[in-house]
Symmetry: C2
Subunit: 517 residues, 2 copies
């Protein structure tokens, strides 16, 4: 056989095998989806127990004393991922104390490969006294006439990542196959801004994380229990620790008071200097790179169901306020912020101590919108604070904290969004709206920047108490989410290939799942 | 014997007895002063041990967990006062958990009666990490090339009150008598503003505290180790606890950030609203009752030894600042203040938590000058903060704390001041200057208001680290103080009667010490 003929024959064989695989898989796929649907619907109690179990681990990434709980949660996931039939399960080190839990299933030749993202770390729980039940004793509770899982992490993001895993489990435990290839990355640093994720992605880009066609975030949520939504963007973030010192020692408020700077006063003046009367941030150049809203953005704001007075009541605020010239949704979705997350100075115990404090501290965090850069904003805020400090007879130290993330967008026509729309409408009985989310998921911008991947958010929490006491997840949405994942995996397996650009790994021949060809 | 004759005879007898008592007492007094001087000079180590002993008790009045230490200190004093020969020693209840320790010695007929005041409670000790040695393990230390007692309370006011007691001890342990009558009031609430002292004085005014001619405060201090001074006034005070709340729960800084009020921002705006660019307090009516400086006041400021750059270095400040139009001494002595003593809000732990806090707090304290009233200022500050809060979409609660005191003055020609001048010059080798002290001793205004008494401050701390870490007292000034008390008691016994007004108890026949007549 000459070389050309041999090559031509090989091609025919390959195409034939491909056709056969495709033909049989269409039939098999229909059967396996039906089985997965049945399994997902039938095992409610076992699925609930998974959430109660994982959410009882106090995996708070912000507090070093909980590092052992971080490892405990990673260990729980490692065992769980293995038990549901995922393969190549690994707890991978990062440069921080929080590892990434990786797993894959790559036996769907010719099918695209999706990266599923979630995080198993949670926010701190204080103020503890405002919780209706202990934050790490998750439980079903009736609240506002509905049944909720209540506990730290039940929504953000242990509930989210478990819904994805339960969708996968529903396939693997029944037909022992998935409609497409999947790789899971479950990280433990999201709540501290994923400081080591970028380096992790760079390290594994050519290895474990090669050949991926798109990413799905199981972190995120829905607009409301009866209103699905597709998130088209998230804000980035950058955060600072500020220390102000004004004297060599605390001074007597009587003997020296009135003649020297007070660290609390300097901090108040410094923080007050960050905004003007219109609530615009006064840091020079802060708004330089802020993108103006496109027509699609204005439509999202106009069509989004936002009941101002109902939300005012739900949040317990006396009204809405913010940068002049914009409404609440614009403030949250399209405008950057600078918030004083925490501050403390001087005597904070019971009673009174008559001192002029020498030192005061604040924690600031900015949310960033396209096309702001966290490093650029960090440098501008730092310069402003240091310059102002000198005017106030105060030594000001500004440290950029690990919480740093780029803003991220996902246009409406992103393939994952196009395919999730129908699934969401079917699952929740209503057409989804398109919206931005003012929050931050650092991973999604890194997937874009490092791995070149578009991402779609696919998650089912309402997020009404996340990062706060009484974090909760509607019981029925938790179960809806799992079933929707079954449908989404099936639809992606069926239709994603046709929507992906020609240079996507599945087309370019660089995709995974080639081991069975 | 007719009634008139009998009365006349009685008068002769009384006068004769009085003359004899007076004649013998002049001789006896000279001898007893010499003995007291010798005793005061000879027992340095024992006197030091008293200070190290008393200052090792953590009698912090501001912190309820130290109430047992308050009682321990009162008990120590009760035993000590008894052991040095004072009489009628009692631990008297107040309406608070801190009792007053009372003692007297009233066997000097025809002599005036002085009330000696001190306090055995101390300030809290935080920040603990800035102490060179544990605050309640008082010890002699070399600092800045000098020998100091270092520990909480060694200066303010355990050192002060012990110097007075050691002066008395030096007489009572040698000649078993004093040159005049004394009553001691040692209280345990000074550092929290003596909230129950006014009621205590009212209760005992006609009983234990009747017949007093003047008061001496063993709380206070000197201008510098080589510069005596006579304090002609103190500021009053009033303090507030402020709570700001903006929402029903902590909110997610990403999802809601930019569109709702943040309790920290509201508190910052509220506190920033308290002063204008000239550092004048903007609370309406705040300065209404402030007395203008008299010629004597201006002279005090002009003649007071104040080395600006040396003090800047000692305090570790980058410069002096304050209300426009006044210098540092005027700021401290003649102008009122409003200081943020403490503040806290949101997440203050390690790391970052992405919340918009719903609640923030501050502790404020004002220093008041004549003729301001704490109640009037409390009402003005409260109104201002509550009005401002409404503009900020914040619920603001303002509570007036127990720290409340009237300003106090003691004119240069007050008898106690006239007589202390010579004693101070002799003890410290320099003529005293007249000055105000920006601090507050609530008792002195109450002695004036309730008991009608002028007070003189007679104390020997320099006060350079009081209310702060490394509170210290120059060892040699501690010993100087005791010897000066011996002289002051002698001079008061000798000359005070001649300087007192005709209606003073000793003249009006309502004084104490009548039991030996």
């Amino acid at each position: 056989m000459d070389r050309n003929l041999r090559n031509a024959s090989l091609l025919v064989v390959i195409l034939a095998l491909g056709w056969r695989a495709s033909a049989t898989s269409t039939v098999a796929a229909a059967a396996s989806v039906a089985q997965a649907r049945e399994y997902a619907a039938a095992n409610k109690d076992a699925f609930s127990r998974q959430l109660l179990d994982l959410a009882s681990i106090a995996s708070i990434s912000a507090l070093p004393q909980h590092n052992k709980d971080i490892l405990k949660a990673a260990d729980w996931l490692q065992q769980h991922l293995t038990s549901i039939g995922l393969e190549n399960v690994q707890v991978l080190e990062t440069e921080g104390p929080q590892p990434v839990v990786y797993a894959d299933w790559l036996h769907a030749p010719g099918k695209p490969t999706v990266l599923v993202y979630g995080h198993y770390d949670v926010q701190p729980v204080d103020p503890l006294d405002l919780w209706a039940s202990p934050p790490f004793e998750p439980q079903l509770q009736q609240m506002d006439d509905q049944s909720y899982f209540v506990g730290r992490g039940v929504d953000d993001d242990k509930g989210g990542l478990l819904q994805a895993l339960q969708g996968v489990e529903s396939f693997l435990r029944t037909s022992h196959s998935l409609p497409l290839n999947v790789k899971f990355i479950l990280e433990g640093q999201e709540e501290i801004g994923s400081p080591n994720l970028e380096a992790f992605l760079i390290k594994h880009k050519a290895g474990l994380l090669a050949g991926i066609d798109m990413a799905i975030s199981a972190d995120g949520g829905q607009v409301a229990a009866d209103q699905p939504g597709i998130g088209t963007g998230l804000r980035g973030a950058v955060a600072f620790e500020v220390e102000v010192s004004t004297a060599g020692m605390d001074l007597h408020s009587g003997m020296k008071g009135g003649s020297v700077q007070n660290a609390n006063h300097a901090l108040v003046a410094l923080l007050a200097s960050l905004k003007d009367a219109d609530n615009r941030i006064t840091v020079p150049g802060f708004y330089d790179d802020v993108a103006t809203m496109a027509a699609e953005d204005k439509e999202s704001v106009a069509t989004f169901p936002f009941d101002k007075s109902a939300e005012q009541q739900a949040l317990g605020v006396l009204g809405f306020m913010g940068e002049a010239g914009f409404g609440p949704l614009e403030h949250r979705w399209y405008r950057p912020t600078l918030e004083v997350v925490g501050m403390w100075g001087g005597f904070t115990g019971a009673g009174m101590k008559t001192v002029i404090p020498r030192v005061a501290n604040a924690k600031l965090s900015c949310r960033l919108v396209p096309n702001m850069s966290p490093d650029d904003i960090a440098s501008k805020v730092k310069s402003h604070l240091e310059r102002k400090g000198a005017e106030l007879l105060a030594n000001v130290t500004v440290t950029v904290s690990g919480f740093r993330s780029y803003p991220w967008t996902s246009p409406r026509d992103t393939p994952g969004n196009v395919l999730s729309a129908g699934v969401l409408e079917q699952a929740m009985g209503k057409k989804p709206v398109y919206y931005r989310d003012g929050g931050t998921i650092p991973a999604l911008a890194y997937f874009q920047q490092v791995l070149g991947l578009n991402s779609t958010i696919f998650a089912f929490g309402v997020g009404d108490h996340i990062h706060a006491p009484n974090e909760r997840l509607l019981e029925h949405l938790f179960h809806t989410g799992r079933k929707a994942w079954v449908e989404y995996l099936a639809v992606l397996g069926d239709k994603l290939v046709g929507l992906l650009p020609p240079d996507a790994p599945v087309h370019a021949g660089s995709g995974v799942g080639r081991d069975e060809l």
